[in-house]
């Protein structure tokens, strides 16, 4: 839309350029549909939109206040490894055993859900609650691109934070001497990165969907992470397969469990549960990927129907 001469002069700012000159669109906009003779411009390509939203969201998330608290919580495995290194150097606790135990008992049961919760519930819920989502919302971007961009940023932040913890653990372990580095250790170490990755991505996808649906998502998220997951993962027999924790732990080579010391009927039940043959690893990976995909699709649907009231 070009202004007439007089109007054009009126629009000149101190730059010496008119609004129209500054706004001259050099890129032709493709169109996909027509309305009463007018053509609807095409939305921004999804990959471009996801890329920019993810990049800016990532930068936003790493500046949030909770990132510092999460960083401190993340030091927990490092402290454990450090304590073993200082106080039990000759107990025969191998680096592989330490790593396996950390994955099984610290990362999968606590750290992954906590960090994924902090990043996930605020991924979409945060900008909706603050009102800043109105800016990407009023751009020619498909809602799924907004959702996927924000989710990808939250998943990446979660994974990076957890990976940082794992790297620090490695540094403390190798301070004992480079002899701990062998093929089995490296295999386990990189396997742990992948397990943390798939856990971070799956949990964050669930928490992001919760953040999109609930106005106050923290309580339902806590109930899920430490109620449902704790309860179901400890129920004997196949019911525990209904928890994400079970499948994540199934991917880790479990430390040996001596069930003979467990008391009474609870001991018997737990012994049954713990002795149960694990499901195939590919099955656990498939379950986690399907849960992630379903949570993402549900989250996109929720966002698409979301009312931006602020």
């Amino acid at each position: 839309m070009i202004a007439s001469g007089a109007e054009d002069r009126a629009l000149r700012g101190r730059t010496g350029k008119t609004m129209n000159e500054a706004n001259q669109t050099s890129t032709p906009i493709s169109t996909v549909a027509t309305h009463g003779g007018l053509s609807m411009p095409a939305p921004l390509p999804s990959l471009t939109a996801i890329h920019w939203i993810a990049w800016f969201s990532f930068r936003e998330m790493v500046r949030r206040r909770w990132i510092f608290s999460l960083g401190l919580i993340n030091l927990l495995p490092v402290l454990v490894v450090g304590a073993i290194r200082i106080w039990f150097p000759d107990e025969g606790i191998t680096a592989q055993h330490q790593l396996s135990s950390l994955s099984h008992e610290v990362f999968t049961t606590f750290l992954i859900p906590v960090i994924a919760m902090a990043a996930g519930v605020s991924a979409i819920g945060g900008p909706i609650e603050e009102g800043t989502i109105v800016y990407p919302w009023t751009r020619p971007i498909r809602r799924r691109s907004i959702y996927l961009g924000r989710l990808l940023a939250a998943q990446s932040v979660t994974w990076l934070l957890l990976s940082l913890s794992l790297v620090l653990c490695f540094l403390v372990m190798v301070s004992e001497g480079l002899q701990i580095i062998n093929w089995e250790f490296l295999q386990l170490y990189f396997q742990t990165f992948l397990i943390i990755g798939i856990g971070a991505f799956t949990y964050a996808a669930i928490f992001a969907a919760m953040g999109t649906y609930f106005k106050k998502p923290v309580l339902p998220a806590i109930l899920f992470a430490f109620g449902w997951e704790n309860l179901v993962a400890n129920i004997p027999a196949r019911i525990q397969e209904w928890s994400l924790r079970f499948h994540l732990q199934n991917l880790v080579d479990r430390p040996d469990v001596d069930t003979t010391d467990l008391p009474g009927i609870i001991g018997a039940l737990l012994a049954t549960a713990l002795k149960r043959d694990p499901v195939p690893k590919y099955q656990s990976i498939a379950v986690l990927l399907v849960v992630m995909a379903v949570a993402t699709v549900v989250g996109i649907w929720l966002l698409k129907n979301k009312e931006i009231e602020k």
Binding site: M1, A3, T15, T27, A33, R63, T132, T138, P140
Partner: protein
Amino acid sequence: MMGAGVEVSAARITADRVGKWFGEVIAVNNCSLSVGTGVVGLLGANGAGKSTLFKMLAGLIEPSHGSVSVFGGKLREEVGWYRRVGFCPESDALPDWMTGREFLTLNLRLMGLPGREINQRVGHWLERFELTDAAGRRLGGYSKGMRQKLKLAQALAHDPDVIFLDEPLNGMDPVSRKHSIDLVRELGETGRTVMVSSHILPEVESMTGEIILIDRGKVLAEGAVTEIRDKIPEHPTTVALNSSHPRELAGFLIGREHVVSVEVDDQGRVVVRTDHAVGFYRALPGWVLQNDLSVEEILTLDDSLEAVFQYLTQH
């Protein structure tokens, strides 16, 4: 195709019997409107439903019933139209960690513009709103007025044809306010459709004579202020006539057609209340000529938005 109340076929923005409930609260009730090019003021008191109507038109919320369209399409579903739409929200929320330049750049990137053009536009709009010096500062440190200007800049930087400005002058200093009012008028004169909401009557009046009046979720009137004013026969218009013989003039006008009451005020003006302004204005020259009356100046005392607003909302 100017302003509010245009033919639906010529309208860029339409709402057809649109309503919105929040629980049991009716925010907008059965509103219909059509807006063509130019500036149109959406006028109403706080809580009248302006922002809700804006959000429905701009695709942020779904109407409970009825339909809205921009360029004939539904923004909520056909997001491509946002390339031609600018929206300045009422909310003060901005990503405080970003700098002003980054914020504008991101919003233009999401419009799909190439990098060089983005830099050019960002520079232009920062300068236009006198934000160049603050461009590298984080938005968390911006004053209310600066934030408002940046919100306006992001709504305009991609050169949209339809622009929604929800209370755009909130928190601005008088100079910025004047610049922004001039800018809105310019946008309207260059063929864009600008819908601007406000609860401050002189603000809207300074930007446009085309208004949509909304109260308690209902559109009371749409069109030119003067036209709307004339559609209110049950509410008298007040006209002041300066005359060298005010008492003689007042005596003549008593009981005439369209005249409700006549009095001479303390400034010596003849103040006439008429129930039909157009009819009164048409008849007056004839009365003056035929009866050799003295009328030196005609002033319409309450043809302002405030008067119209008060009449229509009975506030």
